[in-house]
């Protein structure tokens, strides 16, 4: 692990409390919580920051770009396949049409070392096709009884492996068999699933379903689900004026479509004033809107939203109910 520090500041999953984990700077490699399932905030916080200054302005110089250390190198260790897939989804969003350099500058300076995992009762990544990461990592470590089966994804990953040559060797046939066996066992461990077949169509058909109204009443509009979601990317842009001067900073912050003012325009008209409409928008966007625009659902089945919702709304349960609703 220490050799990896050469490639950047090391950030790992750390334990905050009994079942609470977060990604943070690694002071001591013994602190790494290898058995974590999900962190509070997802890895997107490294590339798409919660608060991001975009530019400064004042009445004399106009609008100026922000000077920021874009060359800082970071290594993210221990990222699960669902998150690796979520980062690839965000790459699509920030890389299409207008390319977001704030995001990509950090992205290219961050190395990702993936780690395999075993699902718990909230995970449904298999249903979303994200329980396996084909690429998007520099190295991927799949746990075996003794050690890890390592996949090398990029040349940088190759450099990282070469930096600690004595830790790596070719796998034996028995170990390859063990990998396959574990893969089969993990398949059986999923207790939660949704079917995405025809889901965009079905969601559109159920547009006026009373289910949404019921959900709208339970939902508090707190936006927690958007904040901890690895693929939510809605943001707000606001100018902060420095007191006493004629200048300030324009900042980008995380936003949520569930907030009341999400579609509120000047003059007072709100295009989605009804909470049920906003909940419906979130589901429709993740499973239908995103599919129409980018070709795949943006949900990765990590289960964070189910874990964190104060109203105990369970996204898998909602989708299965909507699917099953027979008139």
């Amino acid at each position: 692990m220490e050799s990896v520090r050469k490639f950047g500041e090391l950030h790992v999953p750390l334990r905050k409390d009994e079942n609470i984990f977060y990604y943070g700077k690694c002071e001591n490699v013994r602190d790494i919580a290898l058995d974590y399932r999900r962190t509070i905030l997802p890895a997107k916080k490294y590339f798409f920051r919660p608060v991001e200054p975009l530019m400064t302005f004042d009445t004399k110089k106009g609008y100026q770009p922000v000077e920021e250390d874009m060359d800082k190198k970071v290594v993210l260790f221990g990222i699960h396949p669902c998150e690796i897939n979520s980062i690839r989804i965000l790459d699509l969003v920030f890389g299409t049409d207008y390319i977001d350099n704030y995001y990509f500058n950090r992205r290219k300076n961050t190395a990702i070392v993936g780690l395999s995992c075993v699902p718990d009762d909230l995970c449904f990544c298999r249903s979303m096709g994200t329980d396996f990461a084909e690429d998007g990592f520099d190295l991927f470590l799949a746990e075996l009884k003794e050690g890890y089966l390592v996949r090398v994804g990029t040349s940088r990953g190759d450099d990282m492996a070469n930096g600690a040559k004595n830790l790596f060797r070719k796998p034996t046939d028995a170990e390859l068999d063990e990998y396959k066996q574990r893969s089969n066992e993990i398949l059986k461990k999923f207790t939660r699933s949704i079917s995405t077949t025809d889901l965009p169509e079905i969601l559109e058909m159920e547009y006026d379903s009373p289910q949404w109204k019921e959900l709208g009443e339970r939902c508090l509009g707190c936006g927690a689900c958007s904040m901890i979601c690895p693929t939510c990317y809605c943001f707000n842009v606001a100018d902060e004026i420095a007191l006493g001067t004629a200048g300030g900073v324009r900042k980008r912050t995380w936003d949520s479509c569930l907030f009341e003012d999400y579609a509120l325009v000047a003059g007072g008209h709100n295009f989605r004033t009804n909470r049920a409409m906003r909940v419906k928008l979130r589901y429709l966007h993740k499973q239908k809107g995103f599919v129409d625009r980018y070709g795949r659902p943006s949900c990765v089945g990590c289960g964070r939203c189910i874990n964190v919702c104060p109203a105990k709304i369970d996204v898998a349960e909602v989708i299965n109910t909507i699917r099953g609703a027979v008139k």
Binding site: F57, D58, T59, G62, Y63, V93, F94, T96, D97, Y98, D100, Y207, Y233, C234, F235, N236, V237, A238, D239, I241, A246, G247, D255, C257, Y262, A263, L264, V265, A266, G267, F271, R272, M277, L281, L284, H285, K288, G289, F290, D292, R293
Partner: protein
């Protein structure tokens, strides 16, 4: 920056840039006023008259209120042009029916003047503009001058007209906007309709157009939503699965069918 009531004109600091800047009718720009923030405003000038960008801005929120307080020749920030704009190439060789209600005249003025500047590219040009009262008419002088021209059928109407001391007397039509349809013969097969106005205008005008067998993709609407990034990322302007800032603001009636929340 020059203004008169609600019409603002913007000049580039750098004349070189002014020469090369171009846009399409129907696009918008993000206007930044130092001290408040940014707001999306439609461009109401036409790209055929370059050098100056005109926008019709209503005083309705933080940014726009501040805009009204700054002085002539002060600096503002503009970013753009964004949006898809009207499909003017596709519309060539057809009749143009421009229907505006109230403030909806602003983005349509860009299309109207563009068409007039390229008069030979279009066949009939018909303008229907209805407002509540004569003092609500945008660009009143400009449009009343159009009534005198032979190459455009210009129909202005107001819902009601009272005699007021500082408003020029209204001699024109008094009646609701949709009623203008009975005064004109339209051939849906050769016409594109561009509509903009408050929701009630869309409701009645679209009904009239569909009654006359207009194809849904020949009916164009200019819509608006809350926008922050204007490049299809922040999510605020989403309508169904489309973004008003990149798939719009010009949508066809066909898009409206598939996007339930559009109007």
């Amino acid at each position: 920056m020059v203004k008169s009531d609600y019409l603002f004109q913007f000049r580039f600091e750098d004349p070189e840039r002014a020469k090369h800047f171009t846009y399409r009718p129907g696009q918008f720009m993000m206007l930044s006023v130092i001290g408040t923030g940014e707001a999306p405003i439609s461009i109401c000038s036409t790209p055929t008259r370059p050098g100056i960008i005109e926008m019709c801005v209503r005083k309705v929120g933080r940014v726009t209120n501040h805009l009204y307080t700054i002085k002539e020749n002060d600096l503002v920030g503009l970013r753009g042009p964004y949006g898809n704009g009207f499909p003017v190439e596709e519309m060539k060789g057809h009749d143009l029916l421009i229907i505006a209600g109230g403030l909806g005249m602003a983005p349509l003025r860009s299309l109207l003047n563009y068409a007039l500047d390229n008069r030979n590219d279009y066949k009939r040009i018909i303008l229907m503009y209805g407002t509540r009262s004569p003092q609500d008419i945008l660009f009143r002088d400009e449009l009343e001058a159009l009534e005198k021209r032979q190459d455009i059928e210009c129909m202005l109407t107001v819902d009601y007209a009272y005699d007021l001391p500082d408003v020029p007397k209204w001699h024109g039509n008094v009646g609701l906007l949709p009623e203008l349809f009975s005064k004109v013969k339209l051939d849906a097969r050769t016409t594109y309709a561009a509509v903009c106005g408050p929701p009630v205008v869309y409701k009645f005008v679209l009904a009239k157009l569909l009654e006359r067998d207009f194809s849904k993709n020949r009916i164009l609407m200019s819509l608006e939503r809350k926008m922050k990034c204007s490049i299809g990322k922040c999510g605020h302007c989403s309508v169904g699965y489309k973004y008003t800032c990149i798939d719009g603001p010009i949508f066809t009636c066909w898009d409206a069918i598939n996007l339930p929340e559009i109007i």
